[in-house]
Every structure is written in C-alpha cells, then in structure tokens.
Symmetry: C2
Subunit: 662 residues, 2 copies
C-alpha cells in the first residue's frame, strides 16, 4: 500500500469534513463538495493568490462558488485555510444565527466574496469581477507597478451551465476577451432529476469555444494535480477567458458516489463512516489529521509573504505616483468624495423634461464628482439615456472605457453589475426598459440581499410607453419591486426629483431603482432635496390642516396638482404629496410622517399608472386608489392615460366621493 | 434592364408596405421587416403549410415572430396572404383599438400564434409548439394517418440570440431532438447601440451545433430563393432542429440600410420614397402592384386544397379509429371532460400534509379525468412533487411521455409551457421553487397577457423552506405576483384547498400559480369547495357578527385558527377567513364579500409569512398586518416562524391592541 501524498490527504480532509458538516446539520448538500474537493484544493492551495489573514486585500484573486449549494465546501476551505471560521462554526451549519448558513452569504461570513445559490448567477458575478479588475488595472497600473493584477475563479456545476444567465455572461466575457477569468466546471453528469442526459446533452466545451473561450478538458477531475496543471495553463492565456471541464463523481468516496441521491441530503451516519474508511481517513467526527493541519498552516506563511510583497509594491507606487494613490483612495472609498446633495449644479433645471432625459443629464453631471462610475444598458442606451459622454466604451480593445455594452442580456447585466459593485473600486449602474426588470428580477434580488449598491436605470415606466403596447408597458412592476426588502424604488415626478434619486442611489449603500418616464413631465416649484425623504408636501393646502390628501409618484403627480386646483374650485382644500420613494418615506421619523400625512385626515386619494396595490397602506379602507388593474394597450400615451382614467378630473371626483360630497 | 421576377416583386411589396405602415403610424420598427422580408416570404409562400381561410386549422404549421418588434412584417403578411387584416388595419398601426398593435398579440389579431416582443421568448414558445406536436403525433397518429404532422418556424434576430432564454430553449430542443423545429436567424449585425460587434462576437452557428442542431448558412439572406432552399433542407432533417443563418441588411433598400437608425423609428417620408424608387416599386402610399396581389391570391387556392386533403384524411381516420377521434375531441376541448369540482375522490384527504405533497397527490388523481396533462419541473421534480407516475418521460426516444424534464432552465420552461398551452390539445404545467419564479417572471407575465392557462407549481413557498436560507426563501413573491393582472395566485391552507387550486387552474382559463409549502399543514374541517371562491369563512365567530376578523393564506391560517382560540379565552369572538386566492375573492359579488368580510368590522388582522403588502387593502389603517419586512435566514423552519414573530400569540395580541384592549 502506498502512502498517500499530502495533497491527497488534504483533498480527502475537505471531503470528509464536508460530509461531517452536512451530517451534523442533518441538512444540506454533501455530493458537490466531495466531487469538487480536488478542484477547490488545487485552486485555493496552488493557483489562487489570497491571504486568509487579510480577506479584504484589494488585489486578492476572487473566488465565486457559483454552485452555492456546495456551501459546506466553502466553509470547510475557510476553516482549513484559516479565515477564522472555527470547527464550532462548521458544527453550527445551517442553524439560527450561525456563520455557516445554507448558502454562502456576502457580508455575513468573512471570506465569502458574493452570495450564491440561485444558479448561474455566480458566473455572471465572476464576469463582473473580471471587468472591474480590467477597468481598475487600466486606470491605476503604471509600468513596473501592476497594483491591480488578479484573477477571478468560479466553480460551477451542471445547473449553472443550463441557466440562460450563464450563457449571456459567457458570451459577453468572450466578446470582452476577459483573459483573467477562469471557470471550473464540475461535470458530474448528475442533476436532481437524474442523469443530465435527460435534459442536457449539449457539448458544453464546443459551446464555450463558440463564445471565444479557451476550453481545457481535464481527463480526471478527481485528480487535483491534473486540475492544478490546467489552472496554470488557464493563467497563461491572457486573451481569452478559460473554461476547465473537470469530469468528477458526485459524492466521491461515499457509497452514494455518482448518484443523484448524493446531491441534496446528508449521506447518513453509516455512509459517512464508510466514506472515511474508503478514503483512508480517521473515523472521528470532524477529525483532521495533524499533517493536513500543518500543510494548511504552511500555506498561510506563503500567503502573508505574497501580500507583503504587494504592499511594498504599493508603497513604492504611492511615492512614484502620489496623484494616483490619492485617486485610488477616492475610488475605493464607499462614500462619494463630496456631499452630492449640496452640489447646486446637480439641482439646476428649467422647464419640462422626460425624467429619462433628466437622468441622462444628471448622470453626466455626476461624472465630475464621482469618477468611478461604470455602467451601461442591455442594448437600449439611446432610449435609456444611460451613456456617459466622452467616457469611452469598455471593450476588448479599450479597458479605459466606462460605458458598458451588455447586449440584450438583462439577467447577466444585473449579476455582472453585482460583481462589479462588490469587487470594490467602482460604482455600477445597469439600464433597461422598466418592464424588462422582469428578466433580471432575481439579479436585482441578489443586489438587495447583498446590499450591493447597484443603480438600476429603468425607463419607459408606465403606459406612457405608448405605441409599443402591453408587452412593453409596466403595470405590476412598481408594486412588485417595492415589495422587495432592501431595494429602493425611486420614481421621480420631475427633474429635481431625478437628482434626488441619483443622490440616493450613490449615498444610501443600497441598490436603487430609478423609475423614469419616456414622456415629458413639468418642473415643480417646490421639488428638490425634500425628495430625499421619500415623500413630502409638494403643494400644500391653504389651511394648516388639509381636507384631503392627494398622493402620487412620478408622472401622476401632475394630475394630482391639477386635481388640487379643481378641488379648490369646488371648495375642497387639498394637499398634494409627492412620494417618489415609499421605502425612504417609511424610514423617516414618526413626527415627519405625521406632518406630511396627518393621521386625522382620512380623505385620501392616491393615483399611479400601475396596479397601485402598495398605496392601500397609506389610503386605508375609506379613501380611493386610482390605478390600472389590467394590461395596457398600443396607442399614443396621452390617449391611454385618458382611456384608462388617469386624469385630474377623476382624482377630483374620487376625492369628492370620499368626502361624501357626491 | 431585366424584369424582376414575381417573387422579387412580392418581397419588395412586403418591404414597402412595412415601411408605409410604420411611416403612417409615425412609430415603430421598419428595419427588421425590410431585412427579413425575403425570409418571411420564402416561409409563408413556399415552406409553410397554412390556410388563411382557416387560421385555427389544428395541423397548420406554426409561425412565431420572435423578433416581435417587427410586427409590421407580420401584419403585412396577414394582409397580403388574406387573413382578413385590411389595408385600413395597416393604416391604423399602433393606434387605440386597432387590430395592429405595436407588438403581435395572441387572441387579438387573427393569425398571430403567440404574443411576442420580450426578446428570446419566441424561440422557447416555438420549442413548446414542437414538443406539443411531437406529443400529439405520438398520441394520435396511426399508420397511414399522420393527422398531426406540422412544422414550427420561428423568425428571430440578434436580440433573441443574445437572451439567455434562447440558449436554454435551444439546448433543450437539441436534447429532445425536435426535428420539426426551424429557427430562421436574421443575422443583420446591427443592434440598437450599434454593430453587434460591441457585445456579441460569438459564433452563433457553432454554438447551435454544440446544442445538437443542424446549422444551415445561407450566403445571401436577401435572396428568398436561397432561403427557400435552406428551408427545404431543414424540412428534410428529421432528427435535429435546424437553425438557418441568413445574413441580411436591416432596412434593406432604404437610404438607412445597414444602420442602427433603421431599427426603431420611421424612415421618414423622403427615405420611404427613395426606398420605393430604389426597389422599383410604385410611389403611392400603401400601393400594391396587381401582379403581386394576384400571386398572393393564387396561394390561397393552394392552401385551401391542402387543408381539404387533411380534412379528408381526418374523416377517414375518424372512421378507421373512432375511439381516437373521440379522444381527439376531448383533448382539443378547452373544458375538462367532467366537472372536476364534483369529483369526490379529488377532495378526499386525511390528516396533515405538506401542500406540495397534496399537490402531487391531486395531480396524479387528476390524470384519470384530464388525459392531456403534460408538464414537469426545472430539475426539482422530486421536491416539487410534480411527476405523474406511470406517465413516462417525454424524450428524444419517447414521444409518448407526459413528464417533461426542463433542466435548470426556469425562463425557458415558462415560455415553452406557453407554447404548449396555446398550441392546443394539451394542458401544460411547470414547476420550480417559488423563489425561482423570479427567473421566469416575464414568461409568467406572457402567460397572463395571453391568458394561456399554464399551471405553475411553486413549492417551498416561504421561510418554511428553512435551512436553505434567504436565497431560497420567498418574501416578496406573493405580493409581486398578486399584482400581475390575469394571473391567479392560489396559496392553499390545506390539502382540500390544494384541490380547489388545481380545479381553479384547470377550469378558469387563466394561468394559475399554486403556491405550496415544504412543511406539513393541518387539515381543516370546513375547508373544501368554498375555497374556489378565493376567500371564505374557515372558522366562524360564535355570534353572527364577529368582533374581529383574522385573515391569512396558506401556512399562516394555522396560526390564525390558534389565535381565534386564544382570543376567545380573552373574551374576543373572532372569525377566521382563509384567503387562498385574492383574485378569485375580488371577483365574487359584493354580497358574498360583505358576508365574509363585513364592512362594519374594522378590527382586522392579517398574517402572511411574506411582505404582505397586499393585505392592506383588506385591513385598512385601523387594523394590523403581520408580515416579514426583511429577508429570511438559514435555520430550521419552526425556529424562523418563532424568531420572525409569525405566531398565534402575536396575532392575538395585535387583535387585542387593535380592539383597544391592551
């Protein structure tokens, strides 16, 4: 019997610790960690430059576990490599309050770069990391000073490969020639419903070659050495992203090896024991051989040395290029360099404008204050007004550009923006038609879950779209996105409210949707920084206490201002509340909210060119909500507002009805 | 000068009529119709078997304009081929009430097979058509009687090709060897932001070959003859779907030919005139040459003859196989063959059960009554309980199976289900975890827009998911989907309400979401067919008029029933309303709604393990809504309900507070 080498011992340590972790929780996915252990080990021990002592090291290689259900693998790695996750943390896997939740969570567990679990998105996050690296390298590197120079690695399974978002992201990565991106594909031929053959017979390698990737096929994915050599080949290829296809066995070493039953449930005590015996590992729960511990310890010394070298490089860089070092500090600061709300030029507008146009204007004015904006549209930039003039296009040939062309790929766009946002150093935005936020809904949810401050520029926000018709007219989207926790939905009523929306997006540390019109809107005298509070009195009643409250967001504010005048003629003294952002209004103190919306005033009417369900919380059973309970239609916008009854006259009549005056 | 042949005259007729149509509306997309005219003509005039006199002919070839923004093309075809769309209809393009809206709308314009516009989905719809054809052919065809035998064609552009959903659908189509599916790719190298090169450098043909498709490359996509020959080759290939790549020029014949500016706005009067001159067409608006008219007329005679032959075939079939002809009538009837609500075995349950399990049970009982169910899951069938036992798997090798394996491809799944549902002859369902409804949100929206009665089986419906954590726990999804018009969201509280959900799904002619638990729920004495009304009294107050209303859906009904008992002990006589489906409740008459929810009772408390925004419409300003305003966590389910305060005790306390009793 040959003595297994230390690498094999370490790989098997990862396997059995993963199995123990899932078994202890009596919940989770043992199969993928056991199959991917050699790849993970080759990556973390050899290929990847990272320092467990400083998980925030800006120039670290990035790791994305796109197959997030294999979380036990990542936790075991974080434990063994010394990121501070303890054996007790592993024993608390999937329990209330633990550092080891069911799927890896960014901001929750030190060393986790991005939240994963919804399949395919990790590949797009990784593309975002690679874009960020390329852009920042172009911005900051100088001859002899490669201060930004890191790889991005993603580990994914068959599920990720089947998801459309992976195709979108991979096609764009090929187009952009992201040579520092490497995806490891755990090709275990098993999915939950059985052999992948039942739904997935494509040639994945040929597909990625069609995208312009380098594709490396490892003979045996259970051999860390082979994967290590492929990783070295991947690093040498600068002009193309690399896909490494590693055929593996799900649940490697266990009696359930190669079976779907190894995927999503604990192996069972007997199987765990059999696995340890088969792999020649000690039988105890959570027992790690001393030689394995020593080997992981030795890695940390090497890692510290590598980061020290980078720090020395950066120190010399700061002397040689002090202005760049200063700029670096600005770019890597989460707060903008000035108080944006105080910059008067951002608020200066005249006359009516479509809020999409105002947004384009504000975006371009912002570039003066916020140098690290990067973003673009899913092929709708001329309509979304989302291009930064003079900032250049980011492309395979030009890493200095700040305008991204995502192509018609909304879902990947959102997840790429998430990757850029959590990478650090850049502020990402993503634009499309509001209705197509549907295509990226889970990407937006991941922004919110991670508190990744991506700005979503969502134009053509209602039936105001007009002729394109119901497929292009959002109806239910405001309500749907307002329901999403930790996402700010900001729908401005005029140009100055657009500024408030952008300031919110860049300063609140949360993903923010700017929901913008295609059509012109007026400019209100009273609009401005008050809009930063989410809701405010745009046009007050003559008396201190109004008889009725008229509430709206965006384009419907105009109707409410007109309704106020109509009501005054009928002897009703109403107040108009503009509510661009319900989440911000809800976050104001009770006194402010009572001042704007006095509890005693029960005659309340809200209008929104949408389903408007969310307004019931402010209107109650005695008021009226004027919305649209059906899909739109293809016709000029003004005609639709009239036909669907979104008019000042109707608002006035509803108010009179609520007051018992008709 | 050579005299142009009649085919070229017809192609140019389509081009200039499309340009006129867009110009008259002063809105729309002229470029794609002009570029795709040769492909469309070759398809409609030569390859496709269709009869304008009977657009409902079951065995017609199906046509999907996946690039829905090219709607003018489809309307011009429908006009010229004689589907009843008049020249006046073309002149009303994109106007209020017209038959020619901005994007093609199913059920609105005769001859439109499916609503398109949101890119990529048409390819998946076409995959659905092809699956339906294969399944029905297996079911009904007999030697000498190919009563189901039609092709499915889709026309798509670069945008469709970039969308992830197209990749998902194409990969599955290759796996399933859908030989009667043909996709024509209008490869014009132009996107809205400019050359496709900026975002899309992949080799599309190689990618489709990797999926297992036959790929045919036409040299000149502006030549209808070349496309026609490729279509014949495509028809001859039975074992693989075919992609025809046709290099074209956007806005062919116009001064803006080959430019992004030809895409999404009218050419302008001068350019239209120049186009007509360049193409040798008459200068008049909406003028069609008599020889072109005569040529389209001649097509109709041929088409009538073809359908007559099929009708004769079917008449002989009905004599040779009377039992199959009878079955055919059942399958192609939109109503189920029996009144499902009256089948007592569907309502027979005992004891507690997870509603996902009850759903699996009901689904399997339903197969006895509803023979044409077809569906499956995005690789979660064992968790979704969505398999029909003994019904076989639909695959490349077995067209008789009714269980579909969609792979991890939610978006394509929804759009494929839409294609199956609007094809006729089958009832489609699609299953995944509720949280991943996000991935297919726009596909679900298209179900609703089209009133395509797809059943969405959405399990693991709340924090009840437990250990998988926040990425897998829906929070905002109930509110988001309830906001969607014409979609029924049904969240049962017990097994009999599950039956009500399935009966609703199969009888209301609308897409329906069944939102189901992972965890066990009790069985209530009073549950049953009343649930078909959406909301009903599950446990009444002792007095005729209750002091308080306790409302909930799904798993939270259990807490409300317990809260009712707690309140009785405190001297409060409350009523519990189970509300599995708000849309159905809203559709009841006012008298019923008042009976269940008396307007005078203002002490109202609702509970839902979700954001619960939609409950404010029933609760008002004076009641209380107990929901979850943040994301979930990874822990056992019972722990989460307790930590997040979704308990009977809290509901009772809130009720007392609302009543001013504490």
């Amino acid at each position: 019997m040959t003595v297994p080498n230390i690498d094999q011992v370490c790989v098997n340590t990862i396997r059995v610790l993963s199995a123990d972790t899932v078994q202890k929780a009596n919940s989770g996915h043992p199969g993928a960690p056991m199959g991917m252990a050699p790849a993970a080990y080759a990556l973390w021990m050899r290929a990847m430059r990272h320092n467990p002592a400083d998980p925030q090291w800006i120039n670290r290689d990035r790791f994305v576990l796109s197959a997030g259900h294999a979380s036990a693998l990542e936790y075991v790695l974080l434990h063994l490599f010394g990121y501070g996750l303890t054996m007790d943390d592993l024993k608390q896997f999937r329990q209330w309050g633990s550092l080891t939740p069911g799927h890896p969570e960014y901001r929750h567990t030190v060393g986790v770069e991005v939240t994963t679990g919804p399949l395919g998105q990790g590949i797009a996050n990784a593309v975002g990391f690679a874009i960020a690296e390329a852009r920042l390298a172009d911005q900051f590197n100088r001859p002899g000073f490669p201060v930004v120079d890191h790889m991005t690695y993603a580990l994914c399974g068959d599920g990720c490969m089947m998801e459309g978002i992976a195709s979108e992201a991979a096609s764009l990565a090929g187009t952009l020639a992201l040579g520092k991106l490497v995806v490891l594909y755990d090709d275990n031929e098993i999915s939950i419903e059985g052999d992948t053959d039942i739904a997935f017979r494509e040639d994945v390698g040929a597909r990625f070659e069609a995208y312009g990737w380098q594709v490396l096929r490892v003979e045996d994915g259970n051999d860390a050495g082979q994967i290590g050599r492929a990783l070295e080949d991947a690093k040498r290829e600068a002009a193309r992203p690399t896909l490494i296809i590693a055929p593996t066995l799900i649940g490697f070493g266990s009696p359930k090896q190669g079976k779907a039953s190894a995927h999503g449930e604990p192996l069972g005590g007997e199987s765990v024991a059999a696995t340890k015996a088969a792999l020649g590992m000690p039988a105890g729960d959570f027992e790690v051989l001393p030689e394995a511990l020593a080997h992981f310890d030795a890695f940390r010394a090497k890692a510290e040395r590598e980061q020290r070298e980078w720090k020395e490089l950066f120190a010399r860089y700061a002397i040689a290029h002090p202005e760049l070092a200063k700029e670096w500090a600005v770019w890597f600061d989460e707060a903008p360099p000035v108080d944006l709300a105080l910059q008067s030029d951002l608020w200066a507008f005249e006359g009516k404008a479509a809020t999409r146009n105002s947004s384009g204007e504000v975006l371009n004015r912002l570039t003066k204050y916020v140098p690290n904006l990067i973003g673009g549209s899913a092929d709708l930039a001329p309509s979304n007004k989302s291009a930064m003039k003079g900032a250049g296009d980011f492309s395979a040939e030009n890493r200095g550009g700040a305008n991204l062309h995502f192509g018609v790929r909304e879902h990947a766009m959102s997840a790429i923006a998430n990757g850029i946002a959590v990478h650090g150093g850049l502020r990402a935005y993503a634009a499309t038609f509001f209705v197509f936020s549907d295509y990226m809904k889970n990407g937006m949810r991941m922004s919110a879950l991670m508190k990744a401050p991506v700005t979503y520029v969502l134009t053509h926000d209602s039936i105001g779209v007009g002729e394109d018709g119901p497929t292009h007219q959002p109806i239910e989207h405001l309500d749907g996105l307002r329901a999403m926790p930790d996402l700010l939905v900001f729908r401005p009523a005029d140009s100055r409210e657009v500024t408030a929306g952008w300031v919110t997006a860049l300063t609140r540390g949360l993903p923010t949707c700017l929901v913008l019109t295609r059509q012109d809107l007026p400019l209100y005298e009273r609009s401005g920084p008050d809009a930063l509070r989410g809701g405010y009195i745009l046009s007050d009643s003559k008396a201190k206490t109004p008889q009725a409250l008229l509430m709206a967001s965006g384009s419907e504010v105009e109707q409410m201002v007109r309704a106020q005048a109509l009501l005054w003629e009928k002897g009703v003294d109403a107040r108009v509340i503009s509510m661009p952002c319900m989440e911000l209004f809800a976050a104001q103190d009770a006194e402010y909210r009572e001042r704007v919306m006095p509890g005693a005033v029960r005659a309340r009417v809200a209008m929104e060119a949408a389903t408007a369900c969310t307004w019931h919380q402010y209107v109650g059973l005695d008021g009226a909500v004027i919305g649209i309970g059906h899909y739109g239609a293809s016709a000029p916008a003004a005609k639709l507002f009239e036909e669907f009854g979104l008019t000042a006259e109707r608002a006035a009549n509803e108010t009179l009805r609520v007051l018992g005056k008709r």
